[in-house]
């Protein structure tokens, strides 16, 4: 058995998460999470709101530290890296934030050029070529001079994707890429994620609520709930799973293992205005 600080790697796993624990205040988010993200594939993380999907992406990128357990990215234990080493690793990771996270004081062109200007001494002509190629790939070459405030939500995410791609990362993490998108923008993003992953040989890790769309381009999916993995496998395997967790998710059932009601005192006592001390832990359905 490998030690917690080393990664048992046969080369097919890019991210290995073992026994991950993390809490926000007194609320546990992860309680022993174990996930393997395969190299060169599109993996989707699924789970109810507030289950820590975005937190997981931030932990993989080293923005948050685990209270227990390890995250290895390309063989490196993220929690043990020094600041300079962590920044070197991040140069190989792209992240598409839910809001796009474009720098609002720069144009689309300058946003995409930003990582190149920060980390390289490339001549301006080469930077221009690289940026225009990435903008062309996401269909925004004609929007190069616009400011982020002039872009629609879908265009902003495409611009952010171009920026994430400009440094040729080995993995891109997508945080809810389809949220709030119209069907056309969603179709464009789906196509881009799939094409980019195949053409550039990337690994893609996606967090999404839009199950049908996300699973349509995924090679592998993981369902997390209450801090642990409840099911993992290919989209076909998930479809055929009889797990009540999976069924509730895939079919959008309002009640099930993820309860409709938030934990609350007994309904009758609550209506009578008598909250007993031990009733607060009860869940009324």
């Amino acid at each position: 058995m490998s030690s917690p600080d080393s990664m048992s790697d046969d080369g097919t796993t890019l991210v290995q998460i073992r026994d991950l624990h993390f809490s926000r205040g007194s609320k546990p988010i992860f309680r022993g999470l174990n996930i393997d993200i395969p190299r060169g594939k599109v993996t989707t993380i699924i789970g109810p709101s507030g289950t820590g999907k975005t937190t997981l992406l931030k932990m993989i990128g080293g923005q948050l530290k685990a209270s227990q357990g390890t995250i290895h990215v390309d063989g490196k234990n993220v929690g043990k890296l020094r600041r300079a080493e962590l920044y070197e690793l991040r140069k190989k990771l792209g992240m598409l934030f839910q809001s796009g996270a474009l720098l609002t004081d720069l144009s689309v062109f300058e946003n995409v050029a930003y990582p190149l200007r920060e980390h390289t001494d490339l001549p301006e002509s080469l930077i221009s070529h690289l940026v225009l190629m990435r903008l062309h790939a996401v269909g925004l070459r004609g929007a190069r001079d616009l400011s982020p405030s002039e872009l629609s939500g879908g265009m902003a995410r495409r611009a952010a994707l171009a920026r994430a791609l400009v440094f040729d990362p080995m993995m891109i993490m997508y945080d809810e890429p389809f949220t709030g998108q119209d069907p056309i923008s969603m179709g464009v993003l789906l196509e881009l994620i799939k094409t980019v992953n195949e053409a550039l040989g990337l690994t893609s890790l996606m967090v999404s609520h839009d199950l049908k769309e996300a699973l349509s381009i995924s090679d592998y999916a993981v369902i997390i709930s209450e801090g642990v993995v409840v099911e993992a496998g290919s989209p076909e395997q998930l479809e055929s799973s009889e797990s009540p967790w999976v069924q509730q998710f895939l079919h959008g059932q309002p009640d099930g293992p993820v309860p409709f009601q938030v934990a609350a005192p007994d309904y009758e006592l609550d209506l009578m205005g008598q909250k007993s001390a031990d009733a607060s832990a009860e869940v009324s359905r």
Binding site: G61, Q63, Q98, S99, A101, T104, P115, E118, R163
Partner: protein, 257 residues
């Protein structure tokens, strides 16, 4: 009673914890200042944003403060036949106290609040997280340039406030009220020491610049990333900066003069 003590204790622990975070934050910002040597354009851009953009309000305020000082000084001194000393009173009040203090308050309201709001919004819209994930250190690219710009801009603005105030005092004292122009300037020159008056005023400006910039940047970086959180942080910047300026001014004056 127990509940009250618990709340009181928790509030103090939160405050002390926040103070500790602010100190650590400052430590990181100071450590990142060296990176500006290779990217002076970042500092120049922020000097423009916090210094040049605050210039108009500082100059107009300085002019009016100088005019009011001359008017009040004249009305008081004329009873003693000492109206020729109007220039002295205007200059000493400006360079020792009002220049750095009023400029500090104006700077906190204009540039400090803008710094907090900008950084708070960058946090709320995930731009700071985005920079980190692009392997760009926000301490070097966002916080340090703004901190150093505020630290350098405030004493320069205070000096300009005082200079314009002296001109405002001349406008009222000499041109309107008829104080002798040569007496206005010569009395001022005789009574004002470059090192102990102008120099100490400059030191006050540097101290206020340090504190206001620290508060403004920390409040932005530490705010709750929502519209309400950014709004509260902006308010805190102005309140804390103003109180810090007035408190520190008393301490510095007690030590310097």
């Amino acid at each position: 009673m127990i509940d009250f003590l618990q709340r009181f204790g928790r509030a103090w622990i939160d405050r002390v914890g926040r103070l500790g975070r602010a100190a650590l934050f400052l430590f990181h910002v100071l450590g990142a200042l060296g990176s500006l040597l290779s990217r002076p354009s970042l500092l120049i851009r922020q000097l423009y944003a916090s210094g040049v953009m605050t210039l108009s309000i500082v100059l107009v305020s300085g002019l009016f403060v100088g005019m009011v000082l001359a008017l009040q000084a004249y009305n008081t001194l004329i009873d003693f036949g000492q109206e020729n000393r109007v220039g002295t009173l205007v200059a000493l009040t400006l360079v020792r106290e009002l220049g750095p203090v009023v400029t500090g308050l104006l700077f906190a309201g204009r540039a400090g609040s803008a710094m907090t709001a900008e950084i708070g919004l960058m946090k709320a819209t995930e731009q700071l997280s985005g920079l980190e994930m692009m392997a760009v250190d926000p301490y070097k690219r966002v916080f340090a340039p703004r901190f150093l710009a505020g630290f350098l801009a405030l004493p320069m603005l205070a000096a300009m406030f005082s200079a314009v105030g002296v001109i405002g005092g001349h406008l009222i004292g000499v041109d309107v009220l008829g104080v002798d122009a040569s007496a206005y300037w010569s009395q001022m020159q005789n009574a004002t020491s470059f090192y102990s008056d102008v120099g100490n005023g400059l030191i006050k400006g540097l101290v206020f610049g340090f504190v206001v910039s620290w508060i403004a940047i920390f409040e932005g970086a530490d705010c709750i990333p929502t519209s309400e959180g950014v709004s509260s942080a902006t308010t805190r910047t102005v309140v804390y900066s103003s109180l810090a300026i007035l408190g520190l001014d008393f301490l510095l004056t007690a030590v310097m003069f």
